[in-house]
């Protein structure tokens, strides 16, 4: 007769233990995301109202961070010119994993109002994996906060896997970067 008080627990495999730790980690990660302070383009004007007391970002658990090595989110605010893209790829590769990218504005989607310009890239997805897009020109601060909440839901559903795709398709991303930029190395009088 089987006793009902004590049923022996089957031994869990290594993958299941990992998965449970990742779930706990995702819970803490999505409730305390830290954002890198980098104003790359014009949509960055809508960030100070989000960071300060007008539409407070800290009630979602987010805060600003100065160095890329300790930040979770890379916020691409607006269009990207060629010079900025080279430095952005440096910054993206310095962030530690798991890392997420949020693109503001309609310029990273398909070029926006600068689609026929000789100095602005048209589609950010070819160079860096993007998790959440926020459309608008320029998007309202409430839309930006909405984008952050969408990112948190995506982390909860385990679909924010941009950083894993970067490892899987590394050669494809590098080939696109070299085609458009020429070279990713920064050439000025310092980085010789």
């Amino acid at each position: 007769m089987k006793s009902t008080k004590f049923t022996p627990v089957t031994k869990l495999s290594k993958e299941e233990v990992d998965r449970k730790w990742w779930e706990i980690g995702d819970f803490f990660r999505r409730n305390s995301l830290w954002m890198l302070m980098y104003c790359t383009g014009c949509c960055a004007i809508e960030l100070p109202p989000a960071m300060t007391s007008a539409y407070d970002m800290e009630r979602l658990g987010m805060g600003p961070m100065a160095t890329p090595r300790q930040a979770d989110i890379l916020l691409v605010s607006g269009y990207l010119s060629l010079k900025t893209l080279r430095r952005l790829i440096y910054t993206y590769e310095q962030m530690s994993e798991p890392r997420f990218v949020v693109a503001l504005g309609s310029c990273p989607i398909n070029g926006g109002i600068y689609h026929d310009s000789h100095a602005v890239i048209n589609q950010l997805d070819q160079y860096i994996p993007v998790d959440v897009y926020v459309a608008g020109c320029m998007p309202n601060t409430e839309s930006v906060m909405n984008g952050f909440v969408d990112l948190m839901i995506k982390i909860k559903n385990k679909t924010a896997v941009g950083w894993k795709n970067y490892h899987k398709n590394f050669e494809w991303y590098k080939e696109n970067q070299l085609n458009s930029l020429g070279e990713v190395v920064v050439h000025d009088e310092f980085h010789q």
Partner: protein, 368 residues
């Protein structure tokens, strides 16, 4: 001693905008420095040649991001000079209200920008809360928070909505009653005085050598050299206001001048509401369909006084439906590029970020 290379790069919490300052330092003193612009370059001048005169309204505000109305004003004024067009009376007064509101929001943003270089973030919170209320008022008038596209060739796009006078007066009363608080937080704050007093002094010869305009010039030369008084455009000669100057040109007196200009802008807006007549607000610059409007041949330079200095557009027309060449004179071009190269060596590393903030270097204007 060996010199070390250092760059105050684009990704930095104290940097005002997306430009980097490259320095060779010896200990704490800068020996050689220059600014690296170009990270916000979009090719505006080339793109403006490919669009019609009317279509440029959507491209123009994006040249200078914190204060987009001066772009529209300078372009519209330049084209009206070529067309010899007379704008209706009410449109002049509405343009003045919009320009002064933009000046208030830009001064609030650069005063709050002290928080980054000095690490004193309380100022940023107060200033951006006020700026947010101003952006909400802009949304009621023009329909958008940041890029308004409201001042067009021939006047203003539509009339002011009802009830906007009450909102603006409420905002201005609350801001005026709190100017003393701003003064205590910034200019009279002992922990900021240490950084800001007697640093970044600008003598008079340097001003004429570099070509600096705006607050930097007025604090060094001690004369009211302001384009609104010297070459008045859009009915500035019918309102009374003062132009604050100072005789001691360090960073602290420049911040003081910014607060005084805020009070003068509030005074101008109040007088505009009293003196504004009724009437139409827009006149068409040509007959027929707007896609076929042409502008006669000519070369015109139209300057506007922005919160950072003299901001000008150079418009060249060939008699066709597209502009032939549009050139932009950014107000922070001399103080950003030349000032950092000639004037920053000899000061300390922490003064570099303060120069960028108090002299009002706005990087989208330099790169276009």
């Amino acid at each position: 001693m060996k010199q070390m290379k250092l760059f105050l790069g684009p990704q930095h919490p104290g940097m005002h905008g997306n430009a980097s300052v490259h320095m060779f330092v010896d200990g704490d003193i800068i020996k050689k420095s220059y600014l690296l612009p170009g990270m916000l370059h979009r090719g505006f001048e080339k793109q403006m040649e490919r669009k019609l005169w009317v279509q440029n309204i959507s491209l123009i505000p994006r040249v200078c991001v914190p204060e987009p109305d001066i772009n529209e004003m300078a372009f519209a004024q330049g084209v009206e000079k070529l067309l010899n067009l007379e704008v209706p009376e009410r449109a002049h007064w509405i343009r003045m209200i919009i320009l002064e509101m933009a000046r208030i929001s830009s001064h609030l943003m650069s005063y709050g920008g002290l928080g980054g270089p000095t690490g004193n973030y309380t100022i940023m919170y107060h200033a951006h809360a006020d700026r947010n209320s101003m952006l909400d008022i802009f949304e009621k008038i023009t329909g958008a928070r940041v890029y308004h596209q409201y001042i067009v060739i021939g006047g203003v796009r539509q009339d002011l909505p009802k009830g906007i006078e009450k909102d603006l007066h409420e905002f201005m009363d609350s801001l005026e009653s709190r100017i003393e608080e701003y003064r205590d937080l910034g200019v009279n704050n002992p922990s900021i005085i240490v950084r800001v007093k007697d640093t970044i002094m600008l003598p008079e010869e340097v001003v004429w050598e570099l070509g600096v305009t705006g607050i930097g010039m007025r604090s060094a030369v001690n004369k009211p050299y302001d384009l609104r008084k010297v070459l008045p455009y859009a009915r500035y000669d019918q309102v009374e206001f003062d132009v604050p100057v100072s005789d001691y040109s360090d960073a602290r007196s420049r911040l003081d001048i910014k607060l005084k200009e805020l009070i003068q802008s509030i005074r101008i807006i109040r007088q505009c509401f009293e003196k504004m007549p009724e009437g139409p607000v827009r006149v068409k610059p040509g007959r027929g369909q707007s896609m076929r409007w042409t502008v006669p041949k000519g070369y015109a330079y139209s300057p506007v006084e922005s919160s950072r200095g003299e901001f000008g557009y150079y418009v060249v027309s060939n008699g066709g439906t597209h502009p032939y060449r549009v050139g932009v004179r950014g107000a922070s071009y001399p103080q950003g590029l030349l000032g950092i190269e000639k004037y920053l060596p000899g000061t300390r590393i922490d003064d570099a970020a303060l120069w960028v903030d108090t002299m009002g270097v706005c990087s989208p204007e330099i790169d276009r």
